[in-house]
Symmetry: C5
Subunit: 99 residues, 5 copies
Amino acid sequence: MILGKVIGTVWSTRKDENLVGAKFLIVQQLKLDYSPKDNFVVAVDSVGAGVSEVVLVAQGSSARQTTFTKNKPVDAVIMAIVDKLDISVKEKLSAMVSE
Amino acid sequence: MILGKVIGTVWSTRKDENLVGAKFLIVQQLKLDYSPKDNFVVAVDSVGAGVSEVVLVAQGSSARQTTFTKNKPVDAVIMAIVDKLDISVKEKLSAMVSE
Amino acid sequence: MILGKVIGTVWSTRKDENLVGAKFLIVQQLKLDYSPKDNFVVAVDSVGAGVSEVVLVAQGSSARQTTFTKNKPVDAVIMAIVDKLDISVKEKLSAMVSE
Amino acid sequence: MILGKVIGTVWSTRKDENLVGAKFLIVQQLKLDYSPKDNFVVAVDSVGAGVSEVVLVAQGSSARQTTFTKNKPVDAVIMAIVDKLDISVKEKLSAMVSE
Amino acid sequence: MILGKVIGTVWSTRKDENLVGAKFLIVQQLKLDYSPKDNFVVAVDSVGAGVSEVVLVAQGSSARQTTFTKNKPVDAVIMAIVDKLDISVKEKLSAMVSE
């Protein structure tokens, strides 16, 4: 899954008939320190996520494994809202060297 | 899903027999301010999208979850036409820093 | 789908038993002006494509949705030979700015 | 599969109902010399991996082929803990040239 | 499929129960002139590939379409050993310009 933050909504009237009622959210990808990556994805919400919340996004066929997205043409779904990240201090230090 | 704009059409006579009648559109990927990214994808249209329209594209196996694309060798489908993007002002500012 | 040009062939004697008879073609990815991108993919041919032809390649599970590739371990298939690209002049101009 | 090291945990209370009990680990991608790549993925653990362990992560629909992840909206799973890498000295030298 | 060269092995004792007996090989991605790309993937071997051999790797769900990998959590499989590449001289020249 990728880590991201909900920063907005996509409005669409004309769409696949199975997508009526779908909530398309704009998810900015995040680094581990919550700073934004230069990338975003549009994902369907399945957990009631709102703007500014940090979330996990599952992509590909796995995005269709929720009750709402089943058999629908969506390739990204928000399936968890993040409470916090717990990063090992030791591992964080060595990782930050490369970022 | 990725955000893009339809900028053209691919014409193909010789193709998989299940793709007769498919409309292959060239979709330029977009940033959140609608400026073009340096990337495009060829996607099958399932919602009547036309040139210059901003759309969402679903990729992978999810591209086969529309009535027309089912069981066909296509890995990208336009499944929504975008009316507008609603981006949180606060989040937009912090996101633009990184772009 | 990605846009590419067939530039060669991969010869392989030892391969998965279901791939006997498969034609592995080297497809150089193309930009919209037909200049080469710095990337290639090896794809199975399902439409009789030959060297120098411009083609569309479907990837992932969609690559297994042709008569020949069904249930075979291939993740890229040539499913269309391109006659021509029709790009909106207006959109082409704005797109070229970013390339 | 990608090679990575577990560097932390993602805590999430609100998530897809099928994900109750899932352990979301933060996996930093590694190079062959175990130095960190500038990329990470959040993966569900299926083998009891802990922080600082080097692991393999399977992505996409393959991430749903374990007993725990079956039919769940997850696109990355830790399916092996790495004991060691055995790299051909000759091949390592030529590979390092390009890194 | 991607073109690569087997450069080593990953040893793993603790892994998904369905992966007992799996041979995890480290495959360095190659350019068309056989020089290494700055990328590698860990793939399960299904054709008896050995170190220094040039191979094709299928990824995603297609990696599960061999007798050994069926229904297993693996997202990359070596499904062919390459004898040689046949690249059109004309196309090679224009392609090299961009590399």
